[in-house]
Structures are given as structure tokens and as C-alpha cells.
């Protein structure tokens, strides 16, 4: 216990959220999505390589496969989640003009969320067999 702890109330320490009010949540989520992506990106690289040279129908059939579809959706969600967290850290570090920082943070969030929704919906459309 350092002198630092004497300056904090027990409640403050128990909450463990610090001055930014979100504690280690960003760090933890970045690592969880990173670990997921180690496995998922290797899987997707393998899937893409196996589909090279295949025609439209072959690629569509592969993506429609339930296992591929589920893991693809997991890959897409983890990718854009991880992307937002990483871009957030980069903007926090390098962009010091307030309005520019807020604008680029919002832009990153909107692009990542929209990209995730659009790509996941595309996989679902293919998986459910709609034309």
C-alpha cells in the first residue's frame, strides 16, 4: 500500500475506475478481441485461400456454410470492435485539437459500427439463401 492509496477513499479503490471512469475496460476488451482475432484471422486467411479460383456460386456456397458463416460473423464483429479500440488509442495519442479529436473519434465509431452491421448482414443474407 503506497501513500497514493491513502489519498483515495475505499469506495474509489473498490470501484477501480480511475479518473477516466472506465478503468481498464478499454485495455481488457482490446486484449480479448485480439486473442479472438489471432484464431479467427488465421481461420479466415485459410478460408479465403481455399476459395481462390472458385467461381461465384462456389464462394457463396462456402460463406453460406453454417460453420463458416458463424465464424465469419465472429471475425467481423471482433475486427471492427478491435479496430475502433485501436483507432481510439491512436487518435487520443496524436490528435490534440479538441474538435478534430472528437470528430475523428465519432467518425471512427460510426464507420466501424456501420461496416460491422453491413458486413454481418451480408453474411446473414448469404447464409439464409436469399437472392
Amino acid at each position: 500500500m503506497s501513500t497514493h492509496d491513502k489519498l483515495r477513499t475505499p469506495l474509489k479503490r473498490a470501484r477501480g475506475l480511475g479518473s477516466a471512469k472506465d478503468g481498464t475496460h478499454h485495455f481488457i476488451m482490446q486484449r480479448i478481441t485480439a486473442i479472438a482475432l489471432v484464431v479467427l484471422s488465421i481461420y479466415v486467411i485459410g478460408l479465403v485461400i481455399s476459395l481462390i479460383g472458385g467461381d461465384y456460386a462456389a464462394v457463396r456456397t462456402a460463406v453460406a456454410n453454417p460453420v463458416h458463416a458463424v465464424l465469419l460473423v465472429a471475425f467481423l464483429v471482433a475486427t471492427f470492435w478491435h479496430a475502433q479500440l485501436g483507432m481510439q488509442a491512436i487518435i487520443e495519442d496524436y490528435v490534440h485539437t479538441a474538435w478534430l479529436a472528437v470528430t475523428s473519434q465519432l467518425l471512427v465509431i460510426f464507420v466501424c459500427v456501420l461496416a460491422a452491421i453491413a458486413s454481418v448482414l451480408a453474411v446473414i443474407r448469404i447464409a439464409l439463401g436469399g437472392a
Binding site: I49, G86, A122
Partner: protein
């Protein structure tokens, strides 16, 4: 008391002999490894915050900034995946135009660069996860694992494209 001029301080700090390498993190070497300035000099010329121009080149600097750079590249590149999936869902015609782009010289260049960025971010990301778990902080280990990231990413990229070309005939 005279406050040291920036230029004078910078020139002195760049002439100061340094150890084998400035640590990326404090826990790598600790304060003992830092060259200690004589007391007189320390009073007159306090070290300014580390500046890129006075650092010796080190591989750890490269892996550190490349991790961020490849991260940004991958964010942009992942929008290509969105395009591909939207095209695949939209129909054969849209898929063909995506395929046309992917096979064009520009598309090939983007895909190749993107595959390397992915390979590097993947290998160096695993390295960072290992370090997050508390391993690999000895200076030699740190430098060696940096080289593993750099060389490993090139090997993995070559491997991906060799398999891809063997698989498809024309990538």
C-alpha cells in the same frame, strides 16, 4: 539560475554516449541502465524529454510504430472485406466487378500490402499479448522478438502468396 537553451541541451544529449539501447518500457532495464550524467552537468543541462532525432535506430522502435501503422492499414483494408461480402450478397455481377478490382494491378498491390500488414500485426500482436502476460522483457529477448515479428511477417506473407498462387494458378 540559467535555464539551458534547447539547442544546447539537444546537442549535448546527442553527444552523450548511450547504452546498448534505450528501453521501450521502464521495466525492461530500470534506471540503473541509464547513463548517469555528472551532477554538475545534470544541474546545468537537464535532459529534455526523449526526442526522435536523438535516438539511435533500434528495431523495437520499428515494431512499435509499425504495429500502429499496420493497424490503420488493416482498418482501411477491412473495408475491402465489407465490399467483398456486400458484392457477394448482391449478386454475380457485383461479385465480378469486385473480382475485377482484386485482379487489377492496383488491387493486387493493395491485397499484397494488406496481407503483409495482417501478417505483421498478427505476429507482433501475439508478441504483445505475450508481453502483456509478463514475459519477454529482457533486453535481448525484446530485441530478438522484434526481429521475429519483422522477419516472420515477411515469411508469412510469402507463404500466403505462394499457397494462394499454387491454389489459384493466377492470383
Amino acid at each position: 539560475m540559467v535555464i539551458g537553451k534547447r539547442t544546447a541541451a539537444a546537442s549535448i544529449s546527442s553527444a552523450t554516449p548511450r547504452g546498448p539501447g534505450l528501453p521501450m518500457t521502464d521495466s525492461a532495464t530500470g534506471p540503473a541502465a541509464q547513463p548517469r550524467l555528472p551532477l554538475l552537468m545534470a544541474n546545468r543541462e537537464r535532459p529534455l524529454s526523449p526526442h526522435l532525432q536523438v535516438y539511435n535506430w533500434q528495431v523495437q522502435m520499428v515494431t512499435s510504430i509499425l504495429h500502429r501503422a499496420t493497424g490503420v492499414v488493416l482498418v482501411v483494408g477491412s473495408l475491402l472485406i465489407v465490399w467483398a461480402l456486400l458484392a457477394l450478397a448482391a449478386g454475380a455481377g457485383h461479385w465480378a466487378s469486385f473480382g475485377g478490382f482484386a485482379r487489377s494491378p492496383l488491387g493486387f498491390l493493395i491485397l499484397f500490402g494488406w496481407s503483409w500488414a495482417l501478417a505483421f500485426h498478427l505476429i507482433n500482436g501475439i508478441r504483445h499479448l505475450v508481453q502483456d502476460a509478463g514475459w519477454g522483457y529482457k533486453v535481448e529477448t525484446f530485441i530478438r522478438s522484434s526481429w521475429v515479428s519483422v522477419i516472420g511477417s515477411l515469411v508469412l506473407t510469402a507463404l500466403i502468396w505462394l499457397i494462394a498462387m499454387a491454389q489459384g494458378g493466377s492470383a
